[in-house]
Chain length 202, copies 2
Amino acid sequence: MKIKGVMAVVSGPSGVGKGTICTCLAEKYDDFFLSISATSRSPRPNEIDGVHYYFKTQQEFDEMIENDQLLEYARYVGKSYGTPKKPCMEHIEKGENVILEIEVQGGTKVKEKEPNTIMIFVVPPSLEELESRLRGRGTETEEAIKQRLSRAKEELKLMKNYDYIVVNDSVEEAAERIRSIMIAESFKTENMINTVKEELEL
Amino acid sequence: MKIKGVMAVVSGPSGVGKGTICTCLAEKYDDFFLSISATSRSPRPNEIDGVHYYFKTQQEFDEMIENDQLLEYARYVGKSYGTPKKPCMEHIEKGENVILEIEVQGGTKVKEKEPNTIMIFVVPPSLEELESRLRGRGTETEEAIKQRLSRAKEELKLMKNYDYIVVNDSVEEAAERIRSIMIAESFKTENMINTVKEELEL
């Protein structure tokens, strides 16, 4: 029986490890894909078009906006970034699953455009753990870490708007939890009933 | 972070293999338990109290009803059968998951008493497959098989009242799907948000 794929937005505060979790999931399972963003910024050395980003001119990017080809987009330091709709929908039609690792504002826009999107928020096991992960990067001043931590606390308040909250006590476990959520969603009655009725001639 | 367990009702038409799926799940995973029914019928040879059933006198059973100790109960061929509430709740409190393999009427009663119960309906991949499974038992007349099949079709119409529909194309896959559903449910925002707020001091 043909099972349709699903799309999930994965958000969470800076430092929580959502990037690592999503990469882990996509590397481990053939039917899970990380969405690739489009951007109008120039590729850096060793960045490949269609792998790290879809690189577009600003004009091409603006045309994608006009033609409603983006699930969400935003400007950052004078450049445009967004999520192309078509590749996501193609995976889903094939019965595969798509993960958008994206901040809360962008996630909300995706949900508005595609109401079936599953909203998953990743939280740290504790604030101490989050702080030590932010420190672990070892690249920032005490002042910057304090700021990030205070911003993370603000971001955490937004978890109430999400469908699921996943604790990241280990990358592998968190990845398995997100996978479970996405599998479960594809078997919701509203997603299955038409296919099942057809196949069983009811 | 402490994750609460969940309870699921697993129903489906006769012959669909729900018993095999549930047993597979409980045998494979330490934190998944099959609920054990109480009954007023006498134990058969090699049936063990607390393993196959909780064996009760009719008076004991009636007292359990009066004291609201059963999630559901029914009479069948002059004897009582029901699902004791306490062991289920104890597993859930410990962060374990409980599966009730139960027909639709009983399942509906459980959902009324415990609205957080997840309702999962198992369907065959096709009607031909269901028929061949019913025949495979090799113990029934053509007439009886026809009757069972026609009843199965009626039962299948009730899937629309369930939260999830799981296709049983293979026992292992169906068991994994049910496991995913139960894990996913425990990470729903409404089930997680209080614990997370507490642990993260928000």
